[in-house]
Symmetry: C2
Subunit: 142 residues, 2 copies
DNA sequence: ATAATTGTCTACTAATTTGGTAGGATAATA
DNA sequence: TATTATCCTACCAAATTAGTAGACAATTAT
């Protein structure tokens, strides 16, 4: 399941995606207010998204956040990874957070095969779906 | 990611699946020793799997645990659900642990659609793959 | 009967993660 | 230089996860 943090991140990004055409950045406070997200928590989340190059920030008066790219180019997989980490069910099949098992021949391991297949299946969806697909979402999903 | 508990559960079940033909049940202690799982923790896990009708137990001398069904009939999805709960990324698309969002029209919600698609994709794999596919696994995967 | 064996169950505890807060530092603008 | 914002470090509380302890109940063998 997605963490609360990931849900907030997706909501904030949905908001920014729906304002992508506007030329002025959006304040943390504005997003927090409109989406009912604790402001200091959102602050930390947006900062993290900036470090992952999903967002661009500007400080001082007239500052705020904007998407680093076209909403159509930012996949849900990228967002989820940036906030929650691995999408795979086991580290030994994770593309971005790989860890090797002890005493395991991955070529012949049945768990490895099944979980790699599961990872491919879910990634095929989450890499195709982008912020553009969720930009009209208003609900605070569970 | 799967919890440690789910990994232990899969290891224990892999062990039982590989001994499915034997007519005598397997002791908790035997599984714990062979798979290097803390015995009291494994005890709780196997009990949970019994409550979910994945295992059958017998007490007293000569007792132990055995699979409730043919390994080919027990899907990884069933095991993971029994131990870790929902497989879906959001409650609002969970088949077995569904929860409705406030102020959301699921028919038109972009997040709902994307996450339902992701759930279908991963379930297609995890419901097809069974204990029979992992019965030869020995490694303590990560 | 009763002793030995083996799972059942309740109740803890420790460690980690999650969700969230406080407040000053730093940068940009006016 | 005052104001507006994000940046960053350091916390804190609650929940979850991982694991332990020990009495209890059922079954079998003697």
């Amino acid at each position: 399941m997605l963490s609360q943090k990931a849900k907030y991140a997706l909501q904030a990004l949905a908001h920014l995606a729906s304002h992508y055409k506007d030329d002025s950045p959006v304040l943390i406070g504005t997003i927090a207010k409109e989406r009912n997200i604790p402001i200091k928590f959102l602050e930390a989340i947006l900062l993290q998204l900036r470090h992952e190059n999903i967002l661009i920030s500007m400080r001082g008066p007239g500052g705020g956040y904007r998407l680093a790219d076209n909403p159509k180019k930012i996949s849900l997989a990228k967002v989820i990874r940036a906030v929650d980490g691995p999408i795979a069910l086991l580290s030994c099949v994770s593309l971005n957070f790989y860890e090797r098992c002890d005493n395991c021949n991955e070529k012949t391991c049945g768990i490895n095969r099944a979980m790699a297949e599961a990872r491919d299946a879910i990634l095929k969806v989450l890499e195709k779906r982008t912020l553009n697909d969720i930009k009209d979402v208003n609900a605070s999903f569970v």
